[in-house]
Amino acid sequence: MNPIISGASVIAAGLAIGLAAIGPGIGQGTAAAQAVEGLARQPEAEGKIRGTLLLSLAFMESLTIYGLVVALCLLFANPFAG
């Protein structure tokens, strides 16, 4: 494989997962903080809050997972490897 292509692919894979983790990280932090606040106000709604929180965390996580899929494509199924 062309060393430039493999080097660029590795850097791009790292960037893909790293950049894709920023936004969801911030979002998950905000969501968890709000959930804790809601829990402190209304401890009796714990079950409902936990369920909703887990579901929305999974949603945000899926954005990072898209970055991961791109990274995995670059590493293991590189279309430019030739």
């Binding site: 493999s6 579901l55 995995l72 590493l75």
Partner: protein, 233 residues
Amino acid sequence: MFFSLAAVEVGTHLYWEIAGLTVHGQVLLVTWLVIAIILSITVLGTLKLEQVPKGLQNFVEAVYEYVSGIAKDQLGEAEYRPWVPFVGTLFLFIFVANWLGALVPWKLIHLPEGELAAPTNDINTTVALSLLTSLSYFYGGFKVKGLGFFARYISPTPIFLPINILEDFTKPLSLSFRLFGNILADEIVVSVLCLLVPLLVPLPVMVLGLFASSVQALVFATLSAAYIAESVE
């Protein structure tokens, strides 16, 4: 070249040629195993029904209540019943598949190529599951509203037409990528950690993987139910 950096096998499969089609053999094997496990638990649990459930029947009833709760939360009391089998099957299949891939030491069984793992770590499985979801929400929408189902493409205004059409494609895409990425990421993290420190250190990550994969099964079932609810209401 990258395969030698980490002894992690990604994208190697046990290929079978069946009637001119190339099939990923290891996925097919584990899929049938998952189906056999679910079927045998269900059949054994409902073999001798009693008024007061105990043992396996109790367990099966609890599982049924849980999966019908997933459908009921999204579709509402009035129309959740016909969708319990579909949503429940999705949840149970993905859940058992994920846990089977994580709990059974598949490495002990040597295949000529590829290795046995959770069937959901193959994108073909997850795409098939999410296309089934697409089919069923179209079916539900047409059954309830007939051709009036198309009205949702121009709601709230006709300007949203392209976005609404695009949504039909992004729904299965995001569903399948989410499940596939999560399961594959889990397995890669565990195997890379096993490569670096083979003892004890991967254990907490494995437990986290078990938790995450059960959440993914719940998310897939919930989202399918939500998409169906969106088109039947």
